[in-house]
């Protein structure tokens, strides 16, 4: 980790995924914020700021992943967003990419690859 500690916001309605990711990311030296819904994520982003990267699920009750990306991009166009989804299929992923997602990762994912990806987008 060079310089200032990077802050990552993880958005997922699955508590299991959220908590394990938080543990790993914090273990790897990131500042990790978690949100259980798109709405909460948006609140955190607006109130606290300083988020360097977002990992978001696609299928969530209320505000979905694609909408989250759209809103975040409005507030901060250059923020890197990585989509983490259990939904195989092209449509939601393609839509997310169209909204400016940096990458799509399918669950269950290889943690090493994800960490490499995060490292790349944070550069």
């Amino acid at each position: 980790m060079n310089g200032k500690q990077k802050s990552i916001l993880v958005v997922d309605d699955e508590g299991g995924v959220l908590n394990t990711l938080q543990s790993i990311l914090e273990e790897k030296g990131f500042l990790c914020r978690t949100a259980i819904s798109g709405r909460e994520a948006l609140d955190i982003f607006q109130k606290e700021g300083g988020i360097d990267c977002v990992l978001t699920d696609l299928r969530m009750p209320g505000m979905g992943g694609v909408e989250v990306i759209r809103e975040f991009k409005k507030l901060k166009p250059d923020i890197p967003v990585i989509v983490i989804t259990a939904c195989e299929g092209e449509d939601p992923a393609r839509e997310a990419m169209k909204e400016g997602a940096a990458a799509v990762v399918y669950k269950p994912f290889d943690m090493e690859s994800l960490l490499r990806l995060i490292g790349e987008v944070l550069k």
């Binding site: 699955e14 299991g16 273990e27």
Partner: protein, 572 residues
């Protein structure tokens, strides 16, 4: 009332078979009747004329017999009447009596044949008799009407004898009996005969003797009523007192003003016509029967297949796809039935396909929900394992093994979900040109190869590119290669060959594994069929579906204990 095809055909064909015959038959009969009537008239007329000629001949003979009267002219009356009579009788035995009359009509000499009853001795005064007066005033030969002496028809003739000195007359009574016999012998067919009627309508000759001397019913034919010598056309018809119908024609005997009528029973005269009509009716009836039978046969051969088709269609309508129309008529109807049967088979296939597609869609929906719900916990589990592994750098061996078991099982579970999703994916293939050799190399690099398994590749260096959905075809080879590794149980040889063979690229993937039992070969592509302890049984179902969607072919050569070869053909 609704008429079935059967009845319609039946009636039309019966009508076709009989109406023309009916029309022609009766038209022919009508023409024949006209012809027959004409020829009958000819026949009757000629018979009547023939009779008339005989009558006239009789008169001329009579005249010739009496020609001696000419010799009397210019001679004295001292001619012996006896000699005269003897002379006349010699030439014509029909002469019954011969009288010499003076100018006042009194008989002066009279001679009779022994055949006659007439009293020769009684000299009559005939001055007032119309016949004598007619002869006296006209001074020419005059005839009486035919009269009967008893039953003998006789005729009186008066000859004026012109002498220089005085006027005398010869009165002759002649028998017509022999002539009558000859005339009554004339026959026309079986029932035809000749009758004579005088100008007053009195019957002079009839085969029924009781009618002679009476007023004839044949009056309509009477010469008095018709001016000519012979009957006018058409043939006259009349009905006698017994109700029998007759047809006839007459000829007039001019000097006597007698009508000779030739007549015949109508029944007999027109017998040939009746026979013709009977035959025609019989023929029509016969053709009716044959027409009916033929129509019955044709109509049945038409309506039965239609019935069979209708029943099959009804059966099909109730959703029974086993409905078949068995028609062996070898005509358009059997072609129709074949078409129907083919259509039914296609419908069945279509329905099966629809059902399997619906089932597939349902599985897809379920797989997508289940996949999502399972992959989230799988992600959490694998994250947790990762965290534990990174937190505890050197765990004791059994803990480390447990962690890798969790990782492997997560991968296995994820694969099951992936298989299910692959199988039920309904998206249209996205086709792009692709090199199959490259795809095979990629697949080999992705699937981990057990160390003891040898790999042999015999790929044709330059293959034509094929138009495929790369992701789907990749899955095909992935599934087959994975199966091959599993079949070989640690050791063996995996051989990959590719070649260009007449319009398609053929890929053969062979293993030296356990092989597939023949009874399992058929079930191999059925979804959820698996011989492995672990496996969804979806791998080969996906393989087959994808290959077929690409218009390709798939074949298996397998021997238990020796190995299996998959042959995939993809059109170029």
């Amino acid at each position: 009332m609704r008429l079935g095809i059967f009845q319609k055909l039946l009636w039309v064909m019966v009508a076709l078979a009989t109406v023309p015959l009916f029309v022609t038959g009766f038209r022919l009969i009508a023409i024949s009747k006209e012809e027959l009537a004409a020829s009958l008239l000819e026949r009757h007329l000629s018979t009547a004329l023939n009779a008339a000629e005989r009558l006239e001949e009789y008169f001329s003979q009579l005249n010739m017999s009496l020609a001696f009267s000419q010799y009397l002219e210019g001679t004295s009356t001292a001619v012996s009447p006896l000699k005269l009579f003897m002379e006349a009788q010699k030439t014509n035995p029909a002469i019954l009596t011969l009288s010499l009359l003076d100018a006042e009509g009194n008989e002066t000499v009279k001679l009779s044949s022994p055949d006659t009853d007439e009293e020769a001795a009684v000299y009559l005064a005939r001055g007032e008799e119309p016949l004598f007066r007619r002869a006296a005033s006209a001074r020419e030969v005059s005839f009486s009407s035919v009269r009967f002496m008893g039953t003998t028809p006789v005729l009186d003739l008066v000859y004026p004898l012109d002498n220089k000195s005085k006027t005398e007359f010869l009165w002759v009574t002649a028998s017509l009996a022999r002539l009558w016999v000859r005339l009554s012998e004339i026959r026309l067919g079986r029932s035809g005969y000749v009758s004579l009627v005088d100008n007053q309508g009195i019957t002079l000759l009839h085969k029924d003797a009781s009618k002679i001397g009476k007023s004839s019913r044949l009056a309509p034919f009477l010469p008095v009523k018709s001016p000519g010598r012979i009957s006018p056309r058409p043939l006259a018809e009349f009905r006698d007192e017994k109700g029998a119908d007759f047809v006839g024609a007459f000829a007039r005997v001019t000097p006597l003003d007698i009508g000779i009528i030739a007549l015949q029973e109508k029944r007999e005269a027109y017998a040939s016509l009746r026979r013709m009509r009977t035959h025609a009716v019989g023929l029509i009836a016969l053709s009716c029967i044959f027409g009916f039978l033929a129509a019955l046969w044709v109509a049945r051969s038409f309506s039965r297949p239609v019935l069979v088709l209708t029943q099959a269609a009804k059966k099909l309508g109730t959703g029974d796809f086993s409905a078949r129309a068995e028609i062996k008529t070898k005509d358009e109807l059997s072609v129709l039935a074949e078409t129907f049967n083919t259509m039914t088979t296609q419908l069945k296939e279509f329905e099966d396909k629809l059902i399997s597609q619906e089932r597939l869609a349902a599985i897809g929906q379920m797989a997508s929900v289940v996949g999502h719900e399972i992959r989230n916990p799988l992600a959490a589990i694998s994250n947790a394992v990762y965290y534990i592994k990174s937190k505890f750098q050197n765990p004791e061996p059994r803990a480390a093994e447990s962690l890798s078991i969790i990782e492997r099982e997560v991968q296995a579970s994820n694969k099951i979900v992936g298989d299910l999703l692959n199988f039920s994916r309904q998206r249209e293939p996205v086709l792009a040109l692709c090199d199959l050799n490259a795809l095979l190399e990629e697949v080999l690099s992705v699937v981990p190869r057990p160390p003891a398994i040898q790999l042999v590749t015999q790929l044709e260096p330059v293959l034509p590119q094929v138009k495929i959905d790369r992701d789907e075809m990749r899955q095909v080879f992935l599934n087959i290669v994975s199966n091959a590794y599993q079949a070989m149980d640690k050791t063996g040889i995996l051989t990959l060959r590719s070649k260009n063979s007449s319009g398609r690229v053929e890929v053969r993937i062979s293993d030296t594994g356990c092989g597939i039992a023949p009874e399992n070969l058929k079930k191999l592509y059925q979804p959820f069929f698996s011989t492995k302890s672990k496996g969804t049984g979806l791998g080969l179902a996906v393989v087959k579906r994808v290959v077929e969607r690409h218009g390709g072919s798939i074949a298996i050569e397998s021997q238990v204990g020796k190995g299996t070869t998959f042959i995939i053909g993809v059109p170029v």
